[in-house]
Symmetry: C2
Subunit: 200 residues, 2 copies
């Protein structure tokens, strides 16, 4: 299987890429590294990436940013950072990427526990994650060619736990093998429109 | 109590306004009618509305649009209609409106069943509703001055059932008295960060 991983050199993406590479052809894309460069906040950049990568069997998007700050400090423009990148960036990966997918291929987006169970400083980040959850359910009703679209929604992952633990009091770190399994389930299972929640 | 209803002359807003007017001072705001004019997709317009209305005890936003169309037909720009209006419009009602609320006041946003249970043509509309659900949960953790923020998420309302029934096969219409009660619960209850789901 030929699998494109956008964000395939990030904290989570690298673990998933390393695992999948054992049995599959993995192409990584990222803003500053990877086999191909892409900035998902720009739809032209997404198009250009797919023109280079050509047809694939599965697309994983483990990328996209949103600004974390106190609600009192978030400007309207700050909210648009997340809307352009993590929200519309991922929507555009589906809009554009579906034309570069083999029949019965899959697209897996990435969200997180904030959508369901936010913490302080995440009014923007929670919002974009929640938007993606509903988008995935809606697009699965319409997408053609046997394409499946799912989202993996993770809690605080083990590898980032020390960095983020103070923001997530009492949350339990998600072990790396569960993270990898969530993406495997989306790619190799038959689910469509699923939010694969792995919160501990 | 002095209650501002943005969208207070719409299908749902009018019913809620008429009910609340019996015992309260109700001010309606809308794009083309109401006591004050507002276009919630423009934050300057929201500011100008509050400068006219001054301090209130409760804000209801029953306004905001998103484009309904097949996923194949929705352009990137089409998605931004919903992001600027129903999503960021409502976020901006909270960002700006909180400064015009008396202590322990409430802000009630409006979403809908699509967030949880989308239908065809609603990739954009479902997405913005889902984003608001997560935003409301997140902002309730941080908002100050005793302010409460909730969302009322309705199924297809009785008064719009004939118009929308073909889009919602098998959905049950929501009676008007339940619609009014959902907003009453948000204004006069003590809930904060609640998604008040009334789906039948």
């Amino acid at each position: 299987m030929k699998i494109l991983i956008i964000g395939g050199n990030g904290t989570i993406g690298k673990k998933v890429a390393d695992h999948l590479r054992t049995d599959h052809e993995v192409i990584t894309a990222g803003r500053t590294n990877g086999d191909v460069r892409v900035d998902i906040s720009q739809s032209d950049s997404i198009k250009s990436m797919f023109e280079k990568v050509k047809m694939v069997d599965a697309i994983l998007c483990i990328a996209g940013e949103a600004k974390w700050a106190d609600f009192n400090d978030l400007s309207e423009e700050d909210f648009y950072i997340g809307l352009r990148s993590k929200l519309m960036g991922q929507v555009n990966v589906v809009r554009i990427g579906r034309s570069y997918l083999q029949p019965s291929g899959s697209i897996t987006l990435s969200t997180g526990i904030l959508a369901d169970d936010p913490v302080v400083k995440t009014t923007s980040a929670a919002m974009v994650n929640g938007g993606i959850h509903s988008f995935v359910q809606a697009v699965s009703l319409e997408i053609e060619n046997g394409t499946r679209v799912n989202a993996v929604s993770l809690g605080v992952v083990e590898d980032a736990y020390e960095k983020y633990r103070d923001y997530f009091p009492g949350h339990n770190p998600v072990p790396t093998n569960k993270v990898i399994n969530a993406y495997i389930r989306s790619i190799f299972g038959k689910g469509n429109g699923e939010i694969i929640r792995i919160y501990e």
